[in-house]
Structure formats: structure tokens, C-alpha cells
């Protein structure tokens, strides 16, 4: 990782509150283009709040407030045309897979069809391309019209990735995407993530420090709503600057 890499997302003095409780207390950090930035930290450290602020999903939470700024390619996400534009460019994959009760194919196309009309040939291409990118195509190519609810948990999570990819976002936010998955499914999701960074920028919130070590190019450590440190993953896990980071990654708390 070179220090001069272009910043895709710049978070500046971000403060988020929910019902008066501060979840983020002034966080500043950059997400570089085409990297996987892993965000680790114990419960209530503000990891998910940071993600939700990036794609403005935080605004859907009643009694929430956001101060500071988040720039996507230099433009503030809150002055950015519409909130829908922001969410199309910054996609999100949730902790638990949330397939919609429709067919696999309809799930993949669901988000894409919200903003554009597609010809049937384009639909077919988009479905295949998205499922391939999520490492799911081979497993479901023969049953695209069967219900997504019949897939296993790991397959459902990759389907949700494909659904997000079909919208063609620049950035994808992963909110503990493997928390409910077995090790083999986790490996597949991680493999897909490593491929995806060629064309996307990824932010991965994870409770699993080993996962951060495996896939993160850089890792940020959050604690009680503050950024403790952000650095190359190798450095965070072998020689962190802050003693609290060392305590966390070596499993002494959290």
C-alpha cells in the first residue's frame, strides 16, 4: 500500500448520534480506491454507524443526527443530487442474508430495476455477470427461477452480494457479512471480496479480527466511537502504534 493512493471516500470529523447518544465522536479517515478497508472494534464502538453514515442509511433511523462530512470522490454525500444516487454508488451487504421472497433471478435484478429499464438480453447478462462476481453462478445457474429462500445461508449471502453488484456501485460496504456463516461459506465470500476490489472499493466491518487480517489491505480500529488507529493491516496486527490496538487484536479485551 502506498500512501499516495487516491482517496475514494474521505470521512471528516464525523459525529453520529442516536437519540442523543453519541455513537461516533469525531472520526476522520480515508478509504482508498480499490482497497479493502477492514474496520474492527468491540461492540458499540461505532463500526456500523460509520457504514450507515457512508450510504446515508443512518437517516432512516428515527432521532439520529449526523455532523461532519463524508466525501465520495470529493463530493459531499449529503449534497449529492439525491440520496438514492448515493446508495446506488455505495452499495451495502448486511450481516444476515436478506433474500427477498422471490426467485434467484428476481433477487439479483431487484435493485437494478429500481433505476433503469433493461431488455431481456441485458437482464440475462446482468444476472450471470453479477452471480459470477459473487462466486455463486456455478451453483445456481440451473435454477435461476426457483425461490431464493431455498438456498443455504452462505448462498443467500452471496446472492445478496450479487444483488448489490447488479446496481453497479463503486463502493461496497460489508456489515459483518460472515457473522452467520460457516467457515467454507466465509471463505467463498472472502474470495469474492478479494476479486471485487479490482473494480470496487470495499469497506468491511467485522467482529472477527482474523477476517480483517485475512482480507483487509488496511485496518482501522474503533473504540467507543473514536478512531484509535488506522494503518496497513500487517502493521496493525504485528506492530500497532497504540497499546489499546495491540490489546484488542491479541484478544485481551473486546
Amino acid at each position: 500500500m502506498n500512501g499516495a493512493a487516491r482517496a475514494k471516500i474521505e470521512v471528516r470529523d464525523l459525529r453520529v448520534t442516536f437519540g442523543g447518544e453519541e455513537a461516533l465522536k469525531g472520526v476522520t479517515l480515508d478509504v482508498r480506491a480499490n482497497e479493502i478497508l477492514a474496520i474492527i472494534g468491540p461492540a458499540n464502538s461505532g463500526k456500523s454507524s460509520l457504514l450507515l453514515a457512508m450510504n446515508r442509511m443512518v437517516e432512516r433511523v428515527p432521532r439520529s443526527s449526523v455532523e461532519g462530512s463524508i466525501l465520495l470522490d470529493g463530493a459531499d454525500v449529503r449534497g449529492f443530487g439525491s440520496v438514492e444516487d448515493v446508495r446506488r454508488r455505495i452499495g451495502m451487504v448486511y450481516a444476515l442474508p436478506i433474500p427477498l421472497p422471490m426467485s434467484i433471478r428476481e433477487n439479483v435484478l431487484f435493485g437494478a430495476l429500481l433505476s433503469r429499464r433493461l431488455k431481456n438480453s441485458e437482464k440475462d447478462r446482468l444476472v450471470e455477470e453479477s452471480l459470477r462476481a459473487a462466486f455463486l453462478w456455478e451453483e445456481v445457474r440451473d435454477r435461476l427461477d426457483s425461490s431464493a429462500m431455498k438456498l443455504s445461508g452462505g448462498q443467500q449471502q452471496r446472492l445478496c452480494m450479487a444483488r448489490t453488484l447488479a446496481v453497479k456501485p463503486d463502493v461496497i460496504l460489508f456489515d459483518e457479512p460472515c457473522s452467520g456463516l460457516d467457515p467454507i461459506s466465509t471463505a467463498k465470500v472472502e474470495e469474492a471480496m478479494k476479486e471485487l476490489k479490482r473494480d470496487h472499493t470495499l469497506v468491511l466491518v467485522t467482529n472477527n479480527t482474523k477476517q480483517a487480517a485475512r482480507v483487509g489491505d488496511r485496518t482501522a480500529f474503533l473504540l467507543m466511537g473514536e478512531l484509535v488507529e488506522v494503518d496497513a493491516t500487517e502493521k496493525i496486527f504485528t506492530n500497532p502504534s497504540n497499546p489499546r490496538t495491540e490489546q484488542y487484536v491479541t484478544g485481551q479485551f473486546g
Binding site: 432512516r60 446506488r88 452499495g91 448486511y94 436478506i98 427477498l100 431487484f110 429500481l114 444483488r163
Partner: protein, 280 residues
């Protein structure tokens, strides 16, 4: 002395089963009694002939037509209005004092006796707006009567759709309207339809409101501005004034069959629409 848990379990099961059985038995008895009493006097002519001699002779075709017209007007107005209100309450407002006040008002309205709606309809539609005793006045008054039920059930149905479905659609760049129409409404539809069917049932069986607002003309209604009687009103008049017990029974049988047909076909339509889209 302590009764062993296995015994309390058996007793509880027996009591609950008995309660359920008596509810079903009451239903079967009432419906069976009316159908058995009514089918004897039922004939094709009864369904297709005009009401003659105040109901002593002839059939009930005008009452069937009047019923269907009035229910159509009532549900045609109350269903879209009620579902739209429910969507607004459930999806577009932030929970607070105002929504609580609105919801309290709706719940109160749902418990108001129908005769009050009859009086309201009489004053507003029949007199003030000059619609007279007509299918239109009756339908509008019935719509006002069933609106709270439809709003309440539709809102509950919308709220029972998992929050995550909304988040998914929103995070994929859906507008609030798209979130509602593509990721909430399809799954709330069965519940919404249940409310609408309850509304249909209440409109069909209602007498007080209809007598106050639509009158009880025996002629065939040719437009919504004509006075008309519904089957329920016809039955009420035949039975109360001792005009014809036979025809009263037959009318009741037709009334019950109409409700059955409407319910079954509504669920069948919904089932077709929901194929493959059922939430887990």
C-alpha cells in the same frame, strides 16, 4: 394436593379444544339452520324475478343488484382510501403524538355503532349534499363505516413486513415509494385483503345504515342515484313485518352464499397474485 403437570396439560388441551369446537359448532349450526331453512324455498325464479307485493311474491333480483352496487361503491371508495391512509401512517410518518392521536381516533371510529354512521350519512349525503335516499348515499355511508377497519388492518399488515425488506430496497437506491410498492406492499397484501373482506362482510350484512341512507325501494335500481334495498334490509323487513317467513329464509340463504362466494374468490385471487412470493 398438587396436580401433576402432565394432567394439567391434558386438562388444558381438552378445555381449549372444547372452546374451539363450540365456536365451530355455533357457526355450523347458524349457517346450517339458515341454509337448510332457506334452500327449500330457493329457486331460479327467486333469484331472477322482481320483488312483488312487498316481498310476498316474486324474487329478490333488485335486492341482489342493490346489495352488489352498494358494496361496490362502499369498497371501491373505502379500500383505496383506507390502504392509502395506512401506507401514509405506517411508512411516511414518524411515530409521535400526532400519529398516536390519529390512531386513537381511528380505533374509536371502528367501535362506533353503525346507526351513528347511518345518521351521519343521512345528514351529510342524503340531506346536505342532496344525494337523497340512494345507492350512492348508502355506499358512501358504508364506506365511512368500514374505513377505520380497513385502515387498522392494513396498517397492521404493513407493519408486520420485516424491517429488513425496507432496508434492502432503500440501500439498493429505492425511493420511499419504490420501497413501499416493491418490497412492502406485496408481502402485506394478504393482511390488507383480510381487512377489505371484513369490510365487504360488514357492508353486506348492514341494515341500519342502509335504511337511513339508501331507503328501501323495491324497484330495480338503474343508477347509483336510485333508492334501493339490500338483501339484509329486505330480509329484515320481511321478517320483522311478518310479510313472508319463507322468502325471508330464502333471502338469508342467498345472503350467506353471496358472502361465501365473495370471500372464496377474494382469497383465490390473492393466492394467484402471491404465488412464489410468500414470505417465510
Amino acid at each position: 394436593m398438587r396436580i401433576p403437570p402432565a394432567t394439567t396439560q391434558k386438562i388444558a388441551k381438552a378445555v381449549l379444544a372444547a372452546a374451539c369446537a363450540s365456536a365451530v359448532a355455533a357457526l355450523v349450526f347458524v349457517v346450517g339452520f339458515v341454509l337448510a331453512g332457506g334452500f327449500r324455498y330457493l329457486s331460479w325464479a327467486f333469484l331472477t324475478q322482481p320483488i312483488l307485493d312487498m316481498g310476498r311474491a316474486g324474487g329478490i333480483l333488485p335486492a341482489i343488484v342493490g346489495t352488489l352496487m352498494m358494496v361496490f361503491v362502499a369498497v371501491g371508495i373505502a379500500a383505496p382510501l383506507g390502504v392509502a391512509s395506512a401506507i401514509y401512517l405506517a411508512e411516511y410518518t414518524v411515530e409521535g403524538k400526532i400519529t398516536q392521536a390519529i390512531r386513537f381516533g381511528i380505533n374509536c371510529l371502528a367501535g362506533v355503532p353503525s346507526i351513528i354512521f347511518g345518521l351521519f350519512g343521512f345528514i351529510l349525503f342524503v340531506v346536505l349534499l342532496g344525494f337523497g335516499w340512494s345507492v350512492l348515499s348508502g355506499g358512501l355511508s358504508l364506506a365511512a363505516m368500514i374505513l377505520p377497519t380497513i385502515i387498522r388492518t392494513a396498517e397492521e399488515a404493513l407493519r408486520s413486513v420485516p424491517r429488513q425488506y425496507r432496508d434492502v430496497a432503500a440501500s439498493l437506491g429505492g425511493t420511499r415509494w419504490q420501497v413501499v410498492t416493491r418490497s412492502v406492499l406485496p408481502y402485506a397484501l394478504p393482511g390488507i385483503l383480510t381487512g377489505v373482506i371484513l369490510g365487504i362482510g360488514r357492508s353486506i350484512e348492514e341494515t341500519a345504515v342502509v335504511i337511513f341512507t339508501a331507503g328501501s325501494a323495491v324497484q330495480m335500481p338503474t343508477s347509483v342515484f336510485d333508492s334501493a334495498r339490500t338483501m339484509a334490509v329486505h330480509f329484515y323487513i320481511l321478517a320483522r313485518e311478518g310479510i313472508s317467513n319463507e322468502n325471508a329464509y330464502a333471502t338469508a340463504a342467498v345472503l350467506i352464499c353471496t358472502i361465501l362466494i365473495i370471500n372464496v374468490s377474494a382469497y383465490a385471487i390473492m393466492h394467484r397474485m402471491m404465488r412464489g412470493r410468500r414470505a417465510p
